[in-house]
């Protein structure tokens, strides 16, 4: 399973390295969302600093939808999904591989967006450790849930419109917990961030486990 996961993740990341769709489209889109939020909240810095953690995670959620759609589109070509299915790769491995590739791309995006939040919104980091831990677990959860719903919607013609509608409400806990954890880490209010990090861990664990357990059913359902 792990070897298959590494193979699939390597394949997806190699495709990304050669096509640069995430780099040239998804990441700039995330930055654009940050800019739009700044326009909506006005030139005053205070509300932006207050809202920075939440806006960051909303931007990440939107970008997750795009990254997942890209990850599915890579395999939407002639018989690629069937090829993957008959290749003998463990479905759980395929799931983990695709989730890992999405997660890696999201982490890169988050690094960039963090810079954006710090520069554009004037937020200041109080605890890098808390920032990093919560980001890693939130990303794992987003990548897992995104891969599940992406696989589910892979064979549909209405995938582009259906995926955000299915995925975004499910990831609401990540938005809540990520925002609260980042509020603490960025010093924008709130006290204990630990329960929120635990919630992120639970979300990631549940969706990774579901994805691995139901990988076969998911592949057949697409």
């Amino acid at each position: 399973m792990w070897r298959d996961a590494a193979l699939v993740a390597g394949k997806d990341l190699r495709i990304e390295l050669r096509s640069r769709v995430v780099l040239h489209q998804v990441i700039p889109f995330g930055v654009l969302v940050l800019l739009l939020f700044a326009l909506a909240l006005g030139p005053d810095r205070r509300p932006m600093v207050q809202a920075a953690p939440g806006l960051f995670w909303v931007a990440v959620l939107f970008a997750t939808v795009l990254a997942v759609q890209r990850s599915v589109a890579v395999e939407s070509g002639d018989g690629v999904r069937d090829g993957l299915r008959v290749s003998g790769l463990d479905p759980a491995g395929v799931f983990l591989g695709k989730a890992a590739a999405i997660g890696a791309q999201l982490l890169a995006l988050e690094v960039l967006l963090t810079g954006g939040v710090l520069v554009l919104y004037g937020a200041q980091v109080r605890s890098y450790g808390a920032l990093l831990t919560s980001a890693v677990f939130a990303t794992a959860g987003l990548a897992a849930a995104g891969t599940i719903y992406g696989t589910l919607s892979a064979g549909m013609r209405v995938r582009e419109t259906l995926l955000p509608f299915l995925l975004l409400p499910v990831t609401a806990p990540v938005l809540l917990a990520g925002t609260r954890a980042w509020q603490v880490a960025l010093g924008a209010g709130g006290s204990a961030g630990d329960p929120w990090v635990r919630l992120l861990v639970v979300f990631a664990a549940v969706y990774l486990a579901l994805g691995v357990a139901m990988a076969g059913a998911l592949q057949e359902a697409a």
Partner: protein, 354 residues
């Protein structure tokens, strides 16, 4: 076989006589004949028996009676509350609806999805039940939000508060709408069933997480009144009974709606199959007619039809429309005047051919 050599007419169970070009065979049904529960369909699994029909009707009547009683008790018999006055009467409606929406409907849908995914219990029944439960449950979730909002305006002073239960119920509604959207995506029934069952389970796993995250996020909703820690009702006697009756009424209404929705689901699946069967039989008949030319088994009228079809080139599209009205009555081949459709078609096709 309906008497035409070489055509195995009843292709699909549910279509008992797709007699397209056999004028001697009795036309089984008129245009109005419903493909319904009280019509015997040999060889087809009947989606609905008479006992079930009566049970569901009884349930519907019971739901209406209980609701009427609840309205009477709730509006006239029970006393107003000391604090909330007449507003408290919403308690006979809002919690029962919420109970149905959040537990009964969701539980039914989740259980049915698991039973579909489990290979030993896999049956189209569970898929339809899950679909019906989510659809009816969505209505009840929306009603929960509406009644809660109506209650919240005078007591809290706002239509909507970002309170834990409201927020998680709203998220639940969106999740249910997502499931319904997924169900509308076209696909063959088996794929759709699998897709929806998987989606239901994956989404159901999210519900407790959403619940806890939102509870931590914020809480100002009043605690449950009837089912508190030691299970002793803390409200007045007649009010408690009315509330109990409210629960029974809304649960019965849910059961009735669920059964009716299930039946619609089952019947539309049967109708789809029947249409497919009729279309297949028609194509085969055409192929046979064009292939063999004259001398079919059905007598002079059929000969006319076959000859016309052979000479007219491709009149299939219009003939198919005439033969197969899309309302799910694949055997409705009798014309208005009581004249066998094949004859009418034959002359129509002959006219076109000239």
């Amino acid at each position: 076989m309906t008497g035409v050599p070489g055509v195995d007419a009843p292709v699909v169970p549910g279509v008992d006589a797709p007699v397209v070009h056999d004028v001697d065979a009795p036309m089984a049904r008129g245009v109005d004949a419903p493909v319904a529960h009280d019509v015997a369909m040999p060889g087809a699994p009947r989606p609905w028996g008479p006992v079930a029909t009566w049970t569901v009707r009884a349930m519907g009547v019971a739901a209406v009676v209980c609701t009427a009683l609840t309205v009477w008790l709730g509006l006239w018999v029970t006393p107003p509350d000391a604090v909330q006055h007449d507003l408290v009467r919403l308690v006979y409606l809002h919690p029962p609806i919420a109970w149905v929406a959040l537990y009964l409907a969701f539980g039914t849908a989740g259980l049915a999805s698991v039973l579909w995914l489990w290979p030993r219990t896999r049956s189209a029944l569970w898929d339809r039940l899950a679909a019906a439960a989510v659809e009816v449950g969505t209505v009840f979730t929306a009603l929960t939000l509406v009644t809660g909002s109506i209650w919240g305006r005078p007591t809290w002073g706002v239509w909507w508060a970002w309170d834990a239960r409201l927020t998680s119920t709203a998220l639940l509604l969106v999740l249910q709408l997502g499931y319904l959207a997924l169900r509308r995506v076209p696909g063959d029934p088996d794929t759709r069933a699998r897709r929806c069952a998987v989606a239901a389970l994956v989404t159901a796993a999210d519900v407790p997480i959403v619940h806890f995250s939102v509870v931590w996020w914020r809480t100002l909703h009043q605690q449950a009144t009837v089912l508190n820690a030691n299970l002793s009702p803390t409200i007045h006697g007649s009010m408690a009974w009315t509330l109990l009756l409210g629960f029974v009424a809304v649960t019965l209404a849910f059961g009735w709606m669920l059964a009716v929705r299930y039946r619609i689901e089952a019947l539309s699946a049967a109708a789809e199959e029947a249409e497919l069967g009729a279309a297949l039989a028609e194509r085969r008949a055409e192929g046979l007619a064009v292939g063999s030319g004259a001398a079919p088994a059905g007598g002079p009228d059929t000969a006319l039809l076959h000859g016309a079809l052979a000479t007219a080139g491709q009149p299939q599209a219009t003939d198919a429309e005439a033969l197969c009205p899309d309302a799910g009555h694949p055997v409705a081949v009798e014309s208005d005047a009581g004249q066998p459709a094949a004859v009418r078609l034959g002359s129509a096709a002959a006219e076109r051919a000239q």
